[in-house]
Amino acid sequence: MEEEGIVKKFCYMNRKAPYGTIYALESLEVVLIAAAFDQDISLVFADDGVYQLTKNQDTDGIGMKNFSKTYSALGDYDIKKIYVEKESLEERGLTTDDLQALKYEDEDDDWAEKDSLFVVGRDELSKIINEQDVVLSF
C-alpha cells in the first residue's frame, strides 16, 4: 500500500520533562498510533524532553502512571529514528548512560538488534528538523 499513498516525514518534537505535564505521555500515545500509517517517523528529544528517556523512573511517590517502559517498545512499532540533542544532554549533566538503550530489530539484516537512539549535535539536529514535512510539538 505504501507506494500508492503519500509518505511524509513526520517529526514528533519533545521538549518537556515527563510528569510535570501530560505531553510526554500523549506524545507516546500518538506515536504508537502513527506507526500504523506507513509514514516516515522521527522522534526528537531536546531541551527538558531528554528527561523523558531517563532510566529508573519511579512514579510510586507521586501517584502517577509510569509510562517510561513504553519507549523500549517503540522498536517493535518500527520506529527507529530517535534523536536526542547532544547539547541538551550536556547542559543537564546527562550522558547516554543515564538514558534507556533503545533498539529495534532490522528485518533486512536477519533481525539483528540495532540502536534506534542517536545522539546528534545541534547542527545535525537542525538539518533533520528542517527536512521534515510535518512537525508535531509536545
Binding site: 545541534r122 528538523i129 521534515q132 512537525v135 510539538s137
Partner: protein, 102 residues
C-alpha cells in the same frame, strides 16, 4: 522552500524563542505572535539576541498582538516585518512547513 517557525511566548518567560533560534535552519522564517511579540521589541534585554539572529533567519511579528499589549509598531526592531493574520496565512503558504515552538 524553507520552514516557518512560530513562537507565541515571551523570551522573558520561556526558553521557546531561544530553542527556536538555536535549531531553526539558516534561511528559515520566524513569526512572533501572542505574548511572543515581546521578543520583537526594541531596547529589551533580549533585543540584541534577536537582532543578531537576523543574519540567519527572517523575522515577522503579528501586529494585532502588538497593539493588544499596548505596544506599537514603532518599537519593533528594525528589519522585523509587521504583518496581520492575512500575512500570517500567506507566510504559511510561502514556507514548506510550520513548526510551533510550544
Amino acid at each position: 522552500m524553507s520552514a516557518l517557525h512560530i513562537v507565541n511566548k515571551s523570551p522573558f518567560e520561556r526558553n521557546s524563542l531561544a530553542s527556536c533560534l538555536r535549531l531553526a535552519a539558516k534561511g528559515s522564517a520566524v513569526l512572533l505572535f501572542e505574548d511572543g511579540v515581546i521578543g520583537a521589541m526594541k531596547n529589551t534585554k533580549h533585543s540584541d539576541a534577536v537582532a543578531n539572529a537576523m543574519s540567519d533567519v527572517s523575522f515577522y511579528v503579528l501586529g494585532p498582538d502588538i497593539k493588544a499589549r499596548g505596544l506599537n509598531d514603532g518599537n519593533v526592531i528594525d528589519g522585523i516585518k509587521v504583518i496581520d493574520y492575512d500575512g500570517f496565512v500567506d507566510l504559511t503558504t510561502e514556507h514548506k512547513s510550520v513548526q510551533s515552538w510550544l
